[in-house]
């Protein structure tokens, strides 16, 4: 592995009532989009905020370019928090200009506005933006210092599908500039689309790490058959099938699709709404934790 841009070593964070992060270590090489996945309470936001230098760890350390986080890191990091309010009564352009003034180096304000497709909104009061527009403004602010590393903490939570797609396109364009991106997300589609490598966290620990395809290949040789729960009769639950039930559907994991289909037909299971698909990251999470991802 090349010299890491960021290195997390034995990170521990204790709060009064619980240990949020419990011995987390990983390395992030330059130019990579690195995903932190996990359900609420898994410790990913605490981990990323320690990496951002916002929270102090109880023990362990984060190193940037081989050095502890310091002035250089603050100049070269761009951050998009889960929730950020901006100063009232400023336009989009003025909000970006405010943050541009806080850095010694960076991009021209108009260039950042163009990059984040904010040209038509530049003169608007930042409080009067939609959710997607607000996230694009916060991304613009995170990019204003032309960061070497960009932190995105659940950037598309709460956005409608169109706004989410537009945001992903922006992140893709940033990736193409070989920026290092640290992304936390609940959205497995987002992680599969954007991340070169992921760690899955639960209860403050890393439970899996690697490139998404490699992780899926390592954990799944099977395919998944999905049926609506109401189409799956009670009598079929006794069949020798590998089943996983969620609130809305039943998933059958199998190596032999033909044989499984014959078994289902023999027991008069309706297959009108059957869907066959390869496993995804959400399946991997369910496989590893037995827990359904919580939005």
């Amino acid at each position: 592995m090349s010299t890491p841009l960021l290195e997390v070593r034995d990170l521990v964070k204790d709060y009064a009532s619980a240990r949020a992060v419990n011995g987390v270590s990983f390395r992030v090489p330059p130019g990579m989009c690195f995903g932190l996945l996990g359900p609420n309470g898994a410790g990913k936001t605490t981990t990323i905020e320690i990496m951002e230098g916002i929270l102090p760890p109880t023990s362990g350390e984060v190193r940037y370019c081989g050095e502890p986080l310091g002035a250089r890191f603050r100049e070269e990091a761009g951050i998009l928090f889960q929730k950020t309010a901006l100063q009232d009564f400023l336009t989009v352009r003025q909000s970006i200009a405010l943050f541009r003034g806080l850095y010694g180096r960076g991009l021209d304000v108009e260039e950042v506005i163009r990059t984040c497709a904010l040209e038509t909104l530049a003169g608007r009061d930042s409080r009067k933006l939609s959710g997607g527009q607000q996230q694009r403004l916060l991304l613009a602010i995170a990019l204003v210092n032309d960061p070497a590393v960009l932190f995105l903490d659940e950037p598309t939570t709460g956005l409608d599908p169109q706004a989410r797609r537009k945001f992903w396109e922006l992140v893709e364009s940033i990736k193409q500039r070989r920026k290092t991106i640290i992304l936390t997300t609940h959205n497995m589609e987002e992680a599969e689309l954007l991340c070169d490598e992921i760690v899955i966290m639960d209860h403050g620990r890393i439970i899996a790490q690697g490139p998404p395809r490699q992780l899926l290949a390592a954990h799944f040789a099977e395919v998944l058959l999905e049926l609506p729960r109401q189409d799956f009769p009670e009598s079929a639950r006794a069949l020798p099938l590998q089943l996983l039930e969620t609130s809305e559907r039943v998933e059958i994991t199998t190596h032999d699709v033909e044989e499984t289909l014959r078994t289902l037909l023999a027991h008069r299971v309706p297959l009108t709404h059957l869907r066959i698909r390869p496993p995804n990251l959400e399946d991997l999470f369910l496989e590893l934790t037995g827990t359904e991802l919580r939005p």
Binding site: E52, G53, I54, A71, R74, E75, A77, I79, F81, K83, T84, A85, L86, Q87, D88, F89, L90, Q94, A97, L98, F99, R100, G101, L102, Y103, G104, I141, N145
Partner: protein, 338 residues
């Protein structure tokens, strides 16, 4: 550092100027004060001079001088009390038409411009009148109150203007976002202090000029010295507001703490009335408050013409407390909700 500080300063100024409600209140308050002052203390019907006449009632004294226009004559049965009023400019002149040997005599405060004119009027009407001089500071109540009004307005703007803004920034997460940049706590606080200081100096100047014009006030001392005093006083009180807002994230709590500071200052710093004659401990407590030093020094300059040397102790106190409060505020400052 300067570039970062100026960026935050510029953004804060824009935010304030575009917050129409706050801006309107900031401008409406001086206007209301000016109108109120004009109503209470203005008016063309007021006599120009007030002359006391020793005696139980005016009817008992028949003298042509009592028919002078634009002079209000007041019967003064008690000589000692009447002299006290001359000393404190409650009367411009005191006349006794029944002095020893029947000759008229009068008392005038030689420091009083109006006493000087009233004396000329009297001598024109009673050429042989004998002068008995008294000395005292020329102080109208409105003149005495004027620095108090300015100081009180300054205090509210310093404490609440800064305290609430910082708490709001912290609660909304804006401070947390700033913390993720190279901006230091000292730079952020410096920008907040400068922004509020510029605003307060502007508003206080407008108030001083407009109310002063309405009530006919002219400072006896140097206005540049007053500006220095206003700047140091504002700095001290802004810094005090920052210490309160340094780490809390509840507007209710900070509002309560700020009220806890402002009300004693209003009552004990001499905004509305002098603390002369009050218990010693009250006077001691009052001198802990920056506003007391602002008002004491302002009255000394505005009413008595005091110079830099006379108000240096107050200026030093304000400068020291400003530095102490700023240092404590920066030390205890929290970017995010704990």
């Amino acid at each position: 550092m300067i570039r970062r500080l100026l960026s935050v300063l510029h953004a804060r100024n824009l935010e304030f100027l575009r917050d129409r409600g706050t801006l309107a209140w900031t401008l409406a308050l001086p206007v209301t004060l000016v109108i109120g002052m004009g109503f209470v203390f203005g008016g063309p019907q007021r006599p120009l001079f007030k002359v006391g006449v020793l005696g139980p009632q005016l009817d008992a004294v028949a003298h042509p001088f009592l028919h002078e226009r634009y002079v209000q004559f007041v019967a003064e049965p008690n000589a000692a009390q009447a002299l006290h009023k001359v000393t404190h400019q409650d009367l411009d002149l005191l006349v006794d038409f029944n002095g020893s040997g029947g000759a008229a005599r009068y008392w005038v405060n030689t420091d009083s411009p109006k006493g000087y004119i009233a004396e000329k009027l009297l001598l024109a009407a009673v050429p042989g009148a004998r002068r008995e001089s008294v000395r005292g500071a020329a102080v109208r109540y409105v003149d005495w109150l004027f620095p108090g009004i300015l100081g009180m307005n300054m205090m509210f703007s310093c404490l609440f203007g800064v305290g609430y803004v910082v708490v709001r920034y912290r609660k909304s997460g804006f401070l947390k976002r700033l913390h993720a940049t190279p901006l230091s706590a000292f730079e952020f606080l410096g920008a907040q202090v400068l922004s509020r200081l510029l605003l307060i100096l502007f508003v206080t100047t407008v108030l001083y000029a407009s109310i002063g014009a309405v009530i006919g006030f002219h400072s006896a001392g140097n206005v540049l010295l007053l500006a220095l005093l206003a700047a140091l006083g504002a700095l001290s009180m802004i810094a005090l507001g920052l210490t309160v807002a340094a780490r809390f994230s509840s507007e209710e709590l900070v509002g309560g703490l700020l009220n806890l500071l402002t009300w004693p200052m209003i009552m004990l710093s001499g905004v509305w009335f002098s603390l002369e004659g009050s218990p010693r401990w009250v006077q001691w407590v009052s001198h802990v408050f920056p506003l007391t030093h602002v008002l004491d020094a302002a009255r000394a300059v505005m009413l008595d013409g005091a110079g830099l040397r006379q108000i240096t102790p107050d200026l030093v106190y304000l400068a020291v407390t400003a530095l102490a409060f700023l240092a404590f505020g920066a030390w205890s400052f929290r970017w995010r909700i704990d």
